[in-house]
Symmetry: C2
Subunit: 340 residues, 2 copies
């Protein structure tokens, strides 16, 4: 089969790889219907993380082709969506809703790599969620978004306790930030401030539910959020960039006692303890437990209540993955879908 | 009147100071019944924070002597307990329970200084809480503890979501750590692990409710907590030391999706963002909103249900404050009460 390999930072190829097969009795093998490139795939691409013939991709939707003998919840032919972290969905941590910290957690990125025609999914019973039937073609982008970018944005909004009566500020207008706006709206937030300086993304932010746009960044951005919230700061702040500046901007924009949800940080971010302390805020972050939200997200997509698939603004065949990476790196695309 | 002044780091004197008087119509002047020395007073004492003829002390109980014309909730003669942060208790932030981030917040330490015979308390209506009557002499240490160390430990336990069915780990066996143990027990925690290597404090930890003692620190301490919790880490971790090592120990000891409450960090603590991110935990910290808890804490003390006053293991007259600072600095005392 064909699959994406990052030979080294900046060098992406599509190569023939061995077809995946069942190894553990809890595995499934799926044939992908579509996959995509994640903002976090740019970290190795830009050399922020290592890349050495790394199997890329961790977002996936597709049809089950084969199951191990212990798999009970999915069957051959099912259309499934999975998270970017493998989870058994039964351990104490999963049951508490933190499947990305499952005792069997394993990142799909690196070892598995779903920018490919097929993929072996460990812990299939816990990881995969079946759709109510075979989806219409036009739903596939949205279902694929649920696999990471929507699930992550949703978690960020839940972590920030977005909800009725709340003012939510979203730092970052990438795909996750946009999905967090969608989530904050669905969760009933009263006011959603998108921090964005790109016209096209501001437009998409408004489509997904942003009520206000703030173009300022850093301390000026914080001052603007304070100004818009009677000097107090936002109840809920979502950090969806992951740099030192954006993280501290998010801390500063959160009111005392407010909630900060963050879903990605670069390796060099150092949070001054004293600044976090005197902010007096709740924080919750980490790789999103997307699995917790998948059943609900799939249903909302199935019912055509939400349209996260609009976040994909470039579609390419798998063979042209390198072009997709380049477009995202150069910010000419927000998020790239790869057809199989 | 007499009051404590820190001339410079390490140099504490008791001097004649001008008697406080009403400045704002929302002020009250109280005559202190007792005051005490806080672990955080050691920061300037040790030169970690500046000290330049600083008026010391932020814990206080006493009798109202004079009130400004706008004060309605307390009257002359009332016995009152206040928090170490002034708050109006009516603004949006206070109403959300974060009085230490009140729009009128002001630290008692520095500008006011309650290691003295009298003190002016701004925002008296919001800040001061009256006791049900004049307290018996033996209740005064406990009421004084409520002013900061008990209120702070209680907040830490609430921030860590200590409660029924939870395993709580407490990093630090100082006064705040001990009070956090008391709080975790009162909040119904199933298991309370005190991280302590001092025999006398281990004893007090057990008195207040600790079920397990862990003497290891740092990575070894984390490994021991994991071992005691089926490899998962504690549901709730309370950080009551404030160093780099103790903070990261607390992060490491918290299970994925668990809660970390922290109530003090040194100026040099830097939290590696990526480590906090991959921990996947909730955090809540900051100067404790003691005011939120004061009415309940006072009632529990009044009913003799809790005995936080036992945390004071040295009592000295105000005039011997310097000796008290020395004892706490050298760890020959956990917490020093100063009689007026």
């Amino acid at each position: 089969m064909r699959g994406v390999v990052m030979v080294k930072p900046g060098e992406v190829t599509v190569e023939d790889r061995e077809d995946p097969r069942i190894i553990e009795p809890t595995d499934a093998v799926i044939r992908l219907s579509a996959t995509c490139i994640c903002g976090s795939d740019l970290w190795p691409y830009r050399g922020i993380e290592p890349a050495d013939r790394t199997l890329m991709g961790h977002e996936y939707v597709g049809v089950v082709e084969e199951i191990g003998m212990d798999v009970k919840n999915v069957k051959v032919g099912d259309f499934v969506v999975g998270s970017f972290v493998i989870s058994d969905n039964t351990c104490e941590i999963c049951q508490a809703g933190f499947q990305s910290k499952c005792v069997h957690a394993e990142f799909v990125h690196g070892g598995i790599g779903t920018q490919a025609e097929r993929a072996r999914i460990p812990q299939a019973d816990g990881t995969l969620v079946t759709t109510p039937g075979q989806p219409d073609e036009d739903l596939i982008p949205s279902l694929l978004a649920a696999s990471d970018v929507l699930g992550t944005g949703w978690f960020a909004a839940v972590a920030a306790e977005a909800g009725p009566g709340k003012t939510v500020a979203v730092v970052g207008d990438g795909a996750v930030g946009l999905m967090a706006i969608l989530a904050a709206k669905e969760l009933g937030a009263e006011r959603i401030i998108a921090m964005s300086r790109h016209k096209d993304r501001q437009e998409l932010a408004r489509f997904y539910g942003a009520t206000d746009i703030v173009e300022e960044r850093g301390e000026e951005g914080v001052a603007r959020i304070k100004e818009l919230t009677g000097g107090l700061g936002a109840h809920s702040v979502i950090e969806a960039v992951g740099t030192q500046e954006s993280f501290m901007q998010a801390v500063g924009a959160t009111r005392g006692g407010g909630h900060l949800g963050y879903v990605g940080v670069n390796y060099d971010v150092q949070i001054p303890g004293i600044q976090l302390f005197f902010a007096g805020i709740h924080t919750l972050g980490g790789p999103a437990p997307v699995r917790r939200f998948l059943p609900d997200l799939i249903q909302m997509i199935w019912d055509r209540r939400i349209d996260p698939g609009r976040v994909f603004d470039l579609t390419l065949p798998l063979e042209q993955a390198a072009e997709g990476y380049k477009a995202m790196d150069e910010r000419t695309a927000t998020k790239v879908l790869l057809t199989i």
